[in-house]
Symmetry: C2
Subunit: 341 residues, 2 copies
């Protein structure tokens, strides 16, 4: 791939500021659930390398990682740095295949420095897009949107695509990719500014504010693909408007903040049966074999001007503890990152 | 295929007794929801034929057909014969491709005689099994079990298969087909006699009475394929024991007797997501292109002694009005048919 563009300045501070998970959150993690400390720069062992983080990623899935509930990954241990993706630069390496000065996207946590091995790398940052875009456009957000659509949603031209969290860091891509694949796209989002963003920036054919609209009035009939990041009442309404043979891609469940005990709602198995739905759960790490192909496609669309990408970058690690609460309150516009360089 | 075996005697009465849907049932159709009348034998038009029914089929899906709710087929009109599959013999034909004396399985309704065209034929009865078996083993029950497993459940050897209504007219086949495909099979059923039937007749590795057992104690962990005919509490419990990547095949929703308004239960989207389930609805008529292959496989297994088949045949059309209530009360043992010959 081409050379990286827009590499920001970064310093090499003498200590490691870390955002530790201080206690188990109830629902969405709040600022007080975290504590920032300062530790020594970690030593690296054989075949390890030291990463200086530049952008910390803020992702909805972190709520689940921080909780004690059974989940698709082990809970983050209390008193350890919050699990997170980040983009950073290699400043020291005992691994001959990882060069000093190389930029990486991987599981480096909410901290300045991480000692890591190759298993922690999600992707090497080499595409001709700004460095920060490797944490969003080409990172977990773009990959999730592209692979959820191509592996599970599988729209054909003319399909009706409904997207919840339509202006979010994943949903914005899903809507655009849906258009690129020939769908009629309908977006749901939580405020009127984002409704406008959906229409103007992400090219949705229709967009609605689910907090103020009557869902039954605005949802299209015959939804072929529903990309759902919310669950809850939006899911219940959408299931009742699916086309026969429609695909429901469950990518998140942001509408419910706690799952112990499980919240209740209308039973949905009759909709699955009578509409012959295929309702699947999507977790991007299951599809690692397709990451390289997918980033190539995403970068090409973006460089052609056909795939817009929004970022919402806060400056300073002190913004990390409150970042998830902001994300779940819908106060970000685009991919939320913390610049810590 | 080989010649039919065990063709029962049948008469040609001078009038047509019909089981009419007299009013919309509330939940499971009860005897009083039907009325039996006597009408003239129907005339046949060009390219039609007259079928003398011999076995009327009793199927759980008839509850949905009789209800006024939106469904995967149009509701049966009040005052018309109850929609049903049946096995009959052609006694008169204006269709050169349908011979008099030929035995057919098709949409002939709960009545003695039906005027039909070729679109109403589901299958011609030609396999070397008893005529009645064409309405069950090779009919909607066997086809549903075989195609739900091979098209949607897709077990591989060593998979854990859970079956609800495990001793039913479909579930008994599902368990046996699961064993034939190499699964470890666990059946749930509603009384102890059926638990024994599951183990002794249908070869389940384990079977439990869901009315008396503690579901959480008896359900296996890591269910790879769940064939579900019930929905409700069994579904909720099983979803929480699925393996990552498991397939849930929704084939019926017998646990809930009415869907307007929809009953409530624990929300399940988090299970779909974190376990990356594929939860699909199965309606056998969607898979008509595979019926012929499927009946060939089912007949071969049965004739080899590897696929047992149970029937529960009542004698006389006067048993039809109460047959669905009996079915939903679990009082049948095997495929329920009404002999009207």
């Amino acid at each position: 791939m081409d050379r990286l563009t827009s590499i920001p300045a970064y310093s090499l501070p003498p200590a490691n500021r870390r955002v530790l998970l201080a206690r188990r959150p109830h629902g969405v993690p709040q600022p007080d659930d975290f504590a920032i400390d300062q530790a020594a720069i970690p030593e690296i062992g054989p075949r390890e390398f030291l990463v200086r983080n530049i952008y910390l990623s803020v992702d909805p899935a972190q709520r689940g990682w921080a909780s004690a509930e059974a989940n698709y990954s082990q809970p983050v241990r209390l008193g350890t740095p919050m699990r997170a993706l980040a983009v950073g630069v290699v400043v020291r390496s005992n691994d001959p295949e990882v060069r000093e000065g190389e930029f990486l996207y991987g599981w480096f946590g909410w901290q300045d420095y991480a000692a890591a091995d190759r298993g922690r790398i999600m992707m090497r940052c080499r595409a001709a897009v700004p460095l920060s875009a490797h944490a969003g456009l080409l990172g977990i957000n773009g990959l999730t949107a592209h692979l959820a659509m191509t592996e599970l949603g599988r729209p054909v031209a003319g399909d009706v695509l409904l997207v919840s969290t339509a202006a979010g860091s994943v949903g914005g891509f899903v809507g655009q990719i849906g258009k690129l694949l020939g769908c009629r796209t309908v977006g749901l989002t939580g405020d009127d500014v984002k409704v406008a963003l959906c229409r103007e920036r992400f090219g949705y054919d229709e967009a609605h504010n689910y907090r103020t609209a009557d869902l039954d009035a605005v949802l299209p009939d015959g939804i072929n693909v529903f990309f759902d990041n919310t669950g809850g009442a939006i899911l219940d309404a959408a299931l009742r408007r699916m086309a026969v043979g429609g695909r429901v891609v469950q990518c998140g469940t942001a509408a419910n903040q706690a799952w112990t005990p499980p919240p209740t709602g209308p039973r949905n198995e009759r909709e699955v049966l009578t509409r012959r739905l295929v309702w699947s759960g999507f977790v991007v790490m299951d599809h690692a074999v397709r990451f390289e192909d997918s980033t190539r496609q995403l970068a090409a669309w973006h460089l052609d001007g056909r795939l817009a990408y929004e970022e919402d970058i806060s400056d300073g690690i002190e913004h990390a503890p409150g970042a998830l609460a902001e994300l779940y309150a819908g106060r970000n516009q685009g991919k939320k990152l913390i610049y810590v360089g």
